[in-house]
């Protein structure tokens, strides 16, 4: 138990700790909008106070029929229009398209199905085959509320998280930044190997999370020049719900997405640090809404594998599909 002081929080800039790649952009975007708002607000307030003071009745007993002349107001309005247009066209639309709609390939991502219900969360992982077991409504029963087809071979290696305890691995990967996040070319692989050599304890030609922290500024520059981005394996979550609308919100990831009944909605993001975060349910879903939290744990790959190995397959529970 600990508590953060006001000052500590202020240092953090009133934004909670960040754990995703696109979250940087979200924070930055929120920041610049607030600068714009502050500029407008301060400007107008200065004018406002001055006008109230200067034109109070005792100082100015006779009002002027015409009032303000000049183009200050028009200019301010035009400035607002321009800034809004820039924010919209240069930032919001492309950033949203990238962060929300541009999905990585499922084969290059950690995939899971997350199902919400009053008032809990549960995840299902497809296992090694990458395929979720089938479900059919006709198998719905008390024991098997979502109608899993138990005999489906694809289901045999599926794994189910305990309620409210969701894990994803933080797997370091390298990508070609210039070529729209494609895998590295052979040349780039060579550069990476060179840079990695001194740090690469397990000799896999890669940089794992701890090793990355040791890189010098010079190393970073080399990688950047080669167009290599050090990043992590993205996560794709298919969100569904059994009953009412819930909303999957992980503050640290800067991600909110409603879980709609009858739909399976995918979200994707790239985690950037290990840690324990909260999943908040952000849509009113009944009397347990306030306590419908869950742990969202970003593990190191080893921890994740260990955790997953302890999980079992079970027909009961897990995410429904809507075919």
């Amino acid at each position: 138990m600990q508590s953060t002081t006001f000052l500590e929080q202020l240092k953090q800039g009133f934004m909670p700790i960040l754990a995703s790649e696109h979250g940087k952009d979200v924070d930055y975007f929120i920041l610049i909008i607030h600068w714009l708002m502050a500029a407008l607000f301060v400007g107008w307030m200065a004018y406002f106070c001055y006008a109230l003071f200067r034109f109070r009745k005792s100082a100015n007993p006779k009002a002027d029929y015409v009032g303000a002349k000049g183009t200050l107001a028009n200019n301010a309005e035009i400035a607002v229009v321009i800034v809004e247009a820039v924010l919209l066209i240069a930032f919001a639309i492309p950033l949203w398209a990238k962060a929300v709609e541009e999905f990585p390939k499922e084969s290059n991502a950690t995939v899971m199905r997350l199902v919400a219900e009053q008032f809990s969360w549960q995840a299902r992982y497809p296992g090694k085959d990458g395929v979720f077991g089938k479900q059919e409504l006709k198998f719905v029963s008390d024991k098997n509320p979502l109608g899993y087809v138990e005999k489906d071979p694809a289901a045999s290696d599926d794994r189910l998280s305990p309620p409210k305890d969701i894990h994803v691995p933080l797997i370091p990967i390298e990508l070609d930044e210039r070529n729209k996040r494609k895998p590295l070319s052979d040349e780039q692989k060579k550069v990476l190997k060179e840079v990695a050599e001194p740090y690469d304890n397990n000799k896999n030609g890669q940089l794992d999370t701890n090793e990355r922290e040791k890189l010098t500024a010079n190393d970073h520059k080399k990688l950047k020049d080669a167009g290599i981005a050090l990043t992590f394996k993205p996560v794709i979550i298919h969100l569904t719900t059994k009953d009412v609308i819930h909303s999957f919100k992980v503050t640290a990831v800067r991600m909110t997405q409603d879980c709609m009944p009858g739909m399976s909605i995918p979200v994707h993001f790239t985690p950037t640090r290990v840690g324990k975060f909260n999943i908040t349910c952000a849509q009113l879903c009944g009397n347990g809404h306030a306590s419908m939290n869950a742990l969202f744990v970003v593990d190191s790959p080893e921890d994740f594998d260990k955790w997953l190995a302890e999980r079992t397959t079970s027909a009961a529970g897990g995410a429904p599909s809507f075919e």
Partner: protein
């Protein structure tokens, strides 16, 4: 300018109808727009207070989850039973209060006060009409409203309690929640919508048909314009919600599934409906009204503020024409921005780009309106009476609320801010220190016309400063709570996510002590805000009997026609033929003998 220096108190026998209509006809079943306006106003103020008291209970629960509410715990338990066991709010009760706070504030307090009450009392006077175009319809629309209010109110006391699915009443939750409160809510809404529709038809017809000779469109006071546009919004945006309400009622009562998809599993059982519906459809129909509705809340407020600012700066409004065009633009565009409440329902980039763009477009006329009002101050001779203080405070408060709409309006930042306290802070800044302040201003401003007496300035100023400070202390911290990740509609005030909660050991983004402590601070501030309303309540009632009498029919020396009538205006409003000669805000016209020239005054002799 006859009636500017003397009070014309009318002898009822001269001007009222030939026979005394009796108490019921004059006060309960009246068809006089002024009486109906006052009925609306009074009922709405009661609901405003009631809505505030509901949220005070919620604030207590947020600050001190699980602790019995002081003062009223016994009352709550005896009235509501198990949901308030031991005077502690259960989550069910919290959800009921939350849903009803939103519903009551929006549909039973602000709309009736801003639109129906002020609109009824002031609009016919300002356009020089004898009454509304359809006085009997006017009466029926008040009765529908009162009926809706009663249904909503009664729903608290039925088994299971009032609606629990938020003011937005999203299906499937609204359908699945096992209380008939939702059914009451829907029936109440259908009545309220009917009332608003009748009112809207009446307002529009009145403005179009009953303007006095010479009252051209561009000579109408800005307040009339705002009411006119508001009426159009109500007329065309409400019916789809009525349709949606009927569909949800069929879901709820007859077991249909318009908004329920196939295969819902509720508490481990397949939900017994045919399925095939769409929860998104409800959201679309709701927000098709929901967004225009917020302009219904703000436009009349802007109208009130403009009247008061023009009068108390003693100069014309700056940019009357831009104001009119802006308000028309807001009205139009407000119909095509609704899905900015739905960015995170899984929408694609194309459609959300469309709605972001319209959302940004609609902020521009708002900016223009505010700019015009700010510029109107320049060169004025500003009188700081109570109505003016509230009107002035409206400007920055609405500014804060409106500006914080921008980060919500971009889907990319909404990704973080959606359904957090940032949203709560955003819209409360617009509706509470925004609209409510404008409405207070209106009450102080038109009270002398209604009663022939001023409200007390001293009590008024206490009310003003108390409210201004209180409101800001309540809502400003919520922005920070929201940015920090605190979600709305949390019956435990976020305690589940607090760092201090043992279950959050090691969770790095749990809500910090500061965020949680802000809850307590806000609740204290809300209590201060409540205290600050006491002088107002006293003022409203006491001034009726011992307020300072007005010394003329036009105590603020205003130009619009509402001040060119006897005080209070008789049945039929005007005692003389009204002909309008000029625009609405001819203050301080150079060369005129007084610093105001009423719209109906014949051309005065110029002084050198």
């Amino acid at each position: 300018m006859q009636s500017t220096t003397t009070t014309t108190t009318l002898d009822t026998h001269d001007h009222a109808p030939h026979h005394d209509p009796g108490f019921l006809r004059s006060y309960v079943f009246s068809t006089d727009h002024k009486v109906i306006g006052i009925q609306y106003g009074f009922t709405a103020l009661m609901f405003l207070l009631f809505g505030f008291l509901l949220v005070m209970c919620m604030r207590w629960q947020i600050a001190k989850p699980g602790v019995p509410i002081p003062l009223v715990s016994g009352l709550l338990e005896s009235l509501l039973g198990d949901v308030a066991k031991g005077g502690v709010m259960s989550p069910d009760l919290y959800n009921s209060f939350g849903a009803m706070h939103g519903t009551i504030m929006v549909f039973l307090a602000i709309v009736p006060l801003a639109f129906a009450a002020f609109g009824n009392f002031v609009v016919p006077l300002q356009i020089g009409a004898v009454d509304m175009a359809f006085p009997r319809v006017n009466m029926v629309s008040y009765q529908c409203f009162a009926g809706g209010g009663v249904v909503m109110f009664v729903s608290f006391f039925i088994p299971g309690g009032a609606a629990q699915a938020g003011w937005t009443s999203y299906s499937p939750l609204a359908t699945i929640v096992p209380t008939h409160g939702q059914t009451f809510w829907l029936i109440g809404m259908v009545l309220l919508i009917t009332s608003s529709l009748l009112g809207a038809v009446n307002f529009i017809a009145t403005v179009i048909q009953l303007r006095a000779p010479g009252m051209t469109w561009m000579r109408m006071p800005f307040f009339v314009w705002t009411q006119f546009v508001t009426a159009f919004i109500l007329l065309l945006a409400f019916p789809p919600l009525e349709a949606a309400g009927i569909l949800q009622l069929v879901d709820k009562v007859l077991g249909a599934s318009f908004f329920l998809p196939t295969g819902l599993v509720v508490s481990g059982k397949l939900y017994d409906v045919s399925g095939g519906g769409s929860p998104l459809l409800w959201q679309h129909l709701f927000w098709f009204l929901g967004h225009p509705e917020v302009y219904v809340l703000i436009l009349p407020a802007m109208g009130v503020v403009s009247e008061i600012i023009a009068c108390n700066t003693r100069k014309p409004l700056w940019g009357y024409k831009s104001l009119v065009y802006s308000v028309l633009a807001v009205g139009f565009v407000s119909f095509i921005v609704w899905a900015h409440h739905m960015y995170l329902t899984g929408m694609g980039t194309k459609i959300s780009t469309f709605f972001q763009t319209t959302t940004m477009i609609i902020s521009i006329p708002s900016v223009i309106i505010l700019t015009c009002l700010f510029m109107s101050l320049w060169g004025g001779s500003i009188r700081f009476n109570t109505p003016m203080l509230f009107a002035l405070a409206f400007l920055p408060m609405f500014g804060i609320g409106g500006l914080t709409g921008l980060p919500l309006g971009f889907n990319f930042s909404d990704l973080h801010l959606h359904d957090s306290y940032y949203v709560i802070a955003h819209f409360h800044y617009v509706v509470a220190p925004g609209t409510i302040f404008a409405l207070f201003a209106g009450v102080y401003f038109w009270y002398p016309k209604m009663t022939g007496r001023y409200m007390s300035e001293t009590l008024g100023k206490i009310h003003f400063w108390g409210s201004l400070i209180g409101m800001n202390l309540v809502f400003m911290p919520m922005f920070f709570q929201g940015l920090y990740g605190m979600s709305r509609r949390m019956s435990d005030g976020g305690a589940t996510y607090a760092l201090s909660n043992a279950a959050n050991e090691g969770v790095v983004t749990a809500l910090t002590g500061t965020v949680i402590k802000m809850n307590v601070f806000i609740t204290h501030a809300a209590f201060l805000l409540l205290l600050a309303q006491i002088p107002f309540i006293i003022n409203v009632f006491m001034s009726m009997f011992n307020g300072k009498k007005v010394e003329s029919d036009n105590p603020w020396q205003a130009t619009t026609l509402d001040w060119q009538t006897p005080t209070p205006p008789p049945h039929g409003n005007f005692t003389k033929e009204i002909v309008v000669h000029r625009g609405p805000y001819e203050y301080s016209v150079p060369g005129h003998p007084t610093d105001f020239t009423p719209q109906n005054a014949p051309e005065p002799k110029l002084v050198k």
